[in-house]
Symmetry: C2
Subunit: 442 residues, 2 copies
């Protein structure tokens, strides 16, 4: 057993034993941060961190920056060692880490994880296991890496009432949309560039179809509204159908297209409360702070009753920023091991129903090609009026011969009514094509 | 004794008794938030909050939103009641709240304060008292109200190494500078407008001379660098000498003038480490996120080794945002009373020396009026070169007859060398006037 040596200042307590599961980009950075700052960690915790072992799947692969004696392929054995107090899970995936995290919690070890997919899919089960054992489950790194939005929702804003959270929580899609906006590139070209630069994975599905953002939306909604919102509760639409033409139309109208995760508290006309979480491409007014978030940066906008509007901005991914969040959590969990107390955990006391997305008020930007004939606009305007959907802006311009381009921005209406309206429009002989439908955010 | 009634859910613990000292704007909002959300508070804490009393200086003044039976003018008596667990100090001032906060800590009560001046002047004394009694001292609201920068430095970034903190932490001065920038108004007119709209107090000295920002800089530097930095350690220069001409010159050069609080970790050529905290008007490049922070908003930029650049933006003042931060702290302190454990407190283990500001590298923007004669520019350029100060940009233009305007932006040099250079320039016969000297931030 190798232990790092510490300059144990006055009053420092017993060492805290840590097991790290996984040694990919994040795990490697976590080990580096701990190894480079032993004094800082010991002083901030009140006792030194000692790495008891690092579980990896392939023992034969050379690993830098870690004593080979610490490596093991027996993750469960490592977790169950008596001298392990805290387990850091940075493997990724869902089923295998779920088993390991549950085993750790049941064995009375606090857990720090960066795994958004795991937390979004199994928050309730994991929280129950943590509560039963009286240990901590931390996951700051699961949403927007080092942007401390989890801690802010759990602690800083605990005395406030969150009304809405909206944010850019996926760097890959923001990189692609930003590239399309700034260069006029097509979706395919921007994705290729993102892949070339390492911003997109070989299989980009989880990012571009919004699944990654939906996991984060589920976590944010759960924390903000004290209600269990899981991945399956999140309406999710990705960016793969966004065209250069959509981007151009948005620009002309003063908007920037962003993939937003939106979490809202809703109250219907009868006063019934519910919560909604969704992910979709969104037209954001250029003057809104989220519109200017460029490259692969993340930003999260929180609206709270007393605090008003807050925004948090930074690197939402990457080994070092993610490790920063993991290590902040590790220090919190270690402090609790030494000084007692528990971190505020999953707390779904409000238990609000999840709104049917059809019943959620949204706003649409609809780009159509219509017959260029007298009466067409009047007919379409009547149909919107009959459906009870009022229009905010209408722009008509000549397109091709006998064809006009009609761009309609609606006021807020129920999602189901807007969707039905688009279906009705698409079926009309006067409407040659509904080119694109993108929701707006205020 | 009036106690608010609670829907005590399953598993809720004993009530936590709270004394509120002061019922100004913030105190009133704190009481409102607690009264309006009893269920949320009880569930988030694990037991209900019960207000034991509210100390005010003038009992005869009518107070809305609080049971009159709770009011008292005996603050010390209230603090020392056996059924008071937590004391919320929202009085303002330094000496009187210092006595009360010390009395509360010594009596074993955790304290939540919004008092930046108190914390910046007496952090060490207060922390020692809290440590001796084993209780918590929270002060999220002391810096930038509901922007959770204190919690972020204490917890979220605890596993990282902070390199630099720079921010707009005073809403009054940002309102004034923003008004000057957007309307071309003079300093006096912008201040008058700020006063009329309630953004500036009748005596605006503490804001416009940078004292309020300096208190916050001291707190941020202390937290970020784990070193005790007090108000007196902060170099402080206000905005009262900024002219419409300075704003105009900044605009022409692509900068916006902001009053920044800057906290830096420094390493000199011999590897000696130190910390610096300062407040001064600063030219911020227009493309920097801090440049676009308008009105009375606050924003704090943090650079950390692993997390990279993070920014936090929101309302930095006002009753409700400040109360939001106070109540977040209150819930943290109350959780610890019920579940055990202590919040990470003042932790100056790193104990770095405070740098002499003269030894800190800065950059100057110098606006001069010089004789419009051959050789003047060469002479001045030589003087900069001889002083070892290299120039980043030089702009010369005709001003009046026989007079040229010369604007010089330097590269980084020691503050003392830049200051000596300005003194040398001002004394030269060729230099008619040094109109303004403003530092730059990258």
């Amino acid at each position: 057993m190798t232990t790092t040596s510490f300059n144990q200042g006055k009053g420092l307590g017993q060492p805290v034993g840590v097991a790290v599961l996984g040694m990919g980009t994040v795990g490697t950075e976590v080990l580096r941060l701990i190894a480079e700052n032993p004094n800082a960690y010991a002083n901030r915790i009140g006792g030194p961190i000692e790495i008891r072992g690092v579980a990896v799947s392939d023992l034969s692969r050379p690993r830098e920056g870690v004593d080979p004696a610490l490596l093991t392929d027996d993750a469960l054995g490592l977790i169950n060692r008596d001298d392990v107090d805290i387990v850091v899970e940075v493997i990724g995936g869902i089923e295998y880490p779920r088993e390991l995290v549950l085993a750790a919690l049941k064995a009375g070890k606090s857990v720090v994880t960066a795994n958004k997919a795991l937390v979004a899919a199994h928050a309730g089960e994991l929280a129950d296991a943590a509560n039963e054992a009286g240990v901590d489950l931390y996951y700051e790194a699961a949403v927007a890496a080092a942007i401390p939005v989890v801690g802010m929702l759990r602690r800083s804003l605990a005395g406030d009432q969150i009304q809405r959270i909206s944010g850019i929580v996926n760097g890959t899609t923001n990189f692609i949309l930003d590239a399309m906006t700034s260069t006029g590139a097509s979706y395919d070209d921007a994705l290729a560039e993102a892949t070339r630069l390492g911003y997109a994975e070989a299989d980009p599905t989880a990012d571009v179809e919004g699944h990654d953002a939906a996991s984060k939306a589920a976590i944010l909604a759960s924390l903000g509204f004290h209600t269990r919102v899981s991945f399956d509760d999140v309406y999710c639409e990705g960016i793969s159908k966004i065209t250069a033409e959509d981007i151009e139309a948005a620009k002309e109208a003063g908007y920037t297209i962003k993939l937003l995760a939106i979490c809202e508290k809703l109250v219907d006309e009868e006063g019934n409360k519910s919560v909604n979480a969704r992910v979709h491409p969104t037209l954001v007014p250029n003057e809104h702070p989220l519109a200017t978030v460029d490259k692969s940066y993340n930003a999260i906008f929180v609206e709270a009753e007393a605090a008003g509007r807050l925004m948090f901005y930074g690197n939402g991914a990457g080994g070092a920023p993610t490790a920063s969040a993991v290590c902040g959590d590790l220090i919190g969990a270690a402090r609790n091991k030494i000084h007692g107390g528990r971190a505020p955990g999953d707390n779904p006391y409000a238990n609000q129903p999840i709104a049917d997305f059809g019943e959620v008020p949204t706003r649409y930007h609809i780009d159509m090609r219509v017959e260029d004939r007298t009466g067409v606009l009047a007919d379409l305007a009547n149909r919107f009026a009959n459906a009870g959907i009022s229009l905010r802006t209408v722009r008509q311009e000549e397109d091709a011969e006998n064809e006009a381009r009609l761009i309609v921005v609606t006021h807020e209406a129920l999602e189901k009514d807007l969707r039905a309206m688009v279906e009705e429009l698409a079926a009309l002989p006067n409407v040659k094509e509904v080119k694109s439908v993108i929701r707006l955010d205020s």
